[in-house]
């Protein structure tokens, strides 16, 4: 295993043109994710955390700075950096199986090879028996399972997850978190996980990067030294509660700062 980080962001800045104005989404972000590490990026909505993920995926390019994966500059999107989207973004005209095997099929893998692998992964995410269903026939949680399965089947070097459980109801969300923990125990993927849910970040990740409001910067990185394998019960442990308070204080501080800045800007204009 190489000693280079799986993902590395160096002084990354991203601006968007918004009409005449230019909006800075992400400012001077430095982040390194090691192999087999699970890192969560936590921040309020609109802080540029999805932009961060899009740059790692290769969907967007940084305005300045460098984004590296396995030591090389990220160019086009690649199956080595699989993405799980918030809206699962499944192909509605393909069955569950069709969606799951889209990647290997597109990459020209022989059917004999990917069929068995698909069956195994579909079973792992709990979708056995639903192979021929269409996305419209599935619940939100099941669709997201398909989203995870079609990413895992490509055996990616890193898994990029953009608030994958953000639009699910609370119960389904905790089920999916448990599923992800179980999947992670068997694959030990490198994961970059974007979320605005404090508890979710602490439950899943080895490290949590707390972001500031726009422009997004990494305010502080917190190590989550809770032993693995973890289960959903971890969320009520004293250790996690202590971390929750710490993160909560950081976020409060951040939102107050943002509010003061807004007030100052309003007074000046």
């Amino acid at each position: 295993m190489s000693t280079l980080p799986a993902i590395e962001l160096k002084h990354v800045r991203k601006e968007f043109a918004k009409g005449e104005r230019r909006v800075v989404a992400v400012e001077d972000v430095d982040l390194a994710v090691s192999h087999r590490e699970f890192v969560a990026v936590l921040g309020p909505s609109g802080c540029g955390k999805s932009t961060l993920l899009n740059m790692v995926a290769g969907f967007e390019r940084p305005t300045s700075g460098r984004v590296l994966a396995g030591g090389t500059v990220v160019g086009e999107p690649s199956p080595r950096r699989a993405v799980v989207f918030q809206e699962p973004a499944l192909f509605p005209w393909l069955s569950v199986l069709g969606n799951v095997v889209f990647g290997p099929k597109t990459q020209g893998q022989p059917a004999a090879e990917y069929r068995a692998h698909a069956a195994q992964i579909i079973d792992q995410v709990g979708l056995s028996g639903f192979e021929s269903h269409y996305p419209a026939e599935l619940s939100g949680g099941m669709r997201q399972r398909v989203g995870i399965a079609r990413a895992l089947i490509m055996r990616p070097q890193v898994l990029l997850m953009d608030e994958p459980f953000g639009s699910l109801d609370a119960q389904t969300r905790s089920l999916m978190q448990e599923l992800l923990l179980a999947v992670w125990e068997s694959h030990h993927q490198t994961v970059l996980f974007i979320t605005h849910d404090i508890e979710e970040a602490l439950l899943l990740a080895d490290r949590v990067c707390v972001m500031t409001a726009r422009p997004g910067r990494i305010k502080k990185t917190i190590n989550v030294d809770i032993p693995r394998p973890r289960s959903i019960e971890v969320t009520t442990s004293p250790e996690l509660n202590r971390l929750r308070r710490e993160v909560f204080a950081l976020i409060r501080e951040e939102s107050q700062r943002a509010a003061t800045e807004r007030a100052r800007a309003a007074a000046n204009s």
Binding site: A57, F59, P92, T106
Partner: protein
């Protein structure tokens, strides 16, 4: 809303219309001898289709099927050519910015010219032949298909494109496996609009630019004062247009089963 009783409600308006028509003729609310009664139209239509045992009553007797075949063949050929050109072109315009800049303005410029305005040009270039009719039909059907295909491509969900690229799809694969199926519902909308224009165009073309088919019969019957045949022709074209639209609709339902599921959600 309480469930309506299962009655063929759609027959109510046509029945009322035929009744009104019948009494308008029978009670002489309309000028006599110009508008034929429904029964007379039906009778002439029957003779037109099946021929007549009476001696030489009508020059139209027994020619219906031939003329239907002429018109239908022209529609299918013209429509087929239009679809074969318009679908790939629409995909390219929606997909590639250079193609869009190159081609789209010209299409938008030519599109507002009514198909009827092309008639003299078509006859001058292609003569009183089939080619004239095919040109008009193809041109008329081309625009709705190309515009809707373009629109369908541009409506493709950005996340689906990203998902496909992330799974290793190259541009050609993205176009074939993501953009095309995603645009297919819109393409079918274009095809349905296109077949409608094709029937309009075939009648116009046959009235003036060719000497066979339902449009030719329509104009010919008008000249010799056979309004019963005119009306029977109108019904015939209506039925053919309706049937061809249904065929496309059924094909789209079969191909787009996933969309029906989405609608049920």
């Amino acid at each position: 809303m309480p469930a309506l009783p299962r009655v063929p409600w759609f027959l109510l308006l046509p029945a009322a219309f035929v009744a009104l028509w019948h009494f308008a003729v029978a009670e002489r609310w309309v000028v006599e001898g110009i508008i034929p009664a429904p029964a007379q139209v039906l009778d002439s239509w029957r003779t037109w289709i099946f021929g007549s045992t009476k001696a030489m009553l009508s020059p139209y007797a027994g020619t219906w099927l031939d003329n239907v075949a002429y018109s239908t063949r022209r529609v299918l050929q013209g429509f087929g050519i239009a679809a074969a050109v318009a679908i790939p072109l629409g995909l390219m315009i929606g997909w590639n910015r250079l193609v869009a800049r190159l081609v789209d303005p010209s299409i938008q410029l030519v599109r507002p010219v009514p198909i009827t305005a092309w008639l003299p040009f078509a006859i001058a270039v292609f003569g009183i032949y089939d080619a004239s009719a095919l040109f008009l039909i193809g041109l008329g059907a081309f625009f709705p298909i190309v515009v809707n295909a373009t629109h369908g491509v541009r409506d493709t969900n950005l996340l689906l494109l990203r998902a496909a690229r992330m799974m290793g799809a190259r541009p050609v694969t993205v176009l074939a496996k993501v953009v095309f199926p995603s645009a297919l519902p819109s393409i079918f909308t274009g095809l349905r609009l296109g077949i409608g224009v094709a029937w309009t165009a075939v009648i116009v073309a046959e009235m003036i630019a060719v000497k066979s088919g339902l449009g030719y019969v329509l104009w010919d019957a008008y000249y010799v004062g056979r309004m019963d045949i005119c009306v029977a022709t109108m019904f015939s074209v209506g039925i053919l247009g309706f049937v061809s639209d249904r065929v496309i609709l059924v094909a789209s339902r079969l191909l787009l089963r996933w969309r029906t599921l989405e609608a049920l959600e």
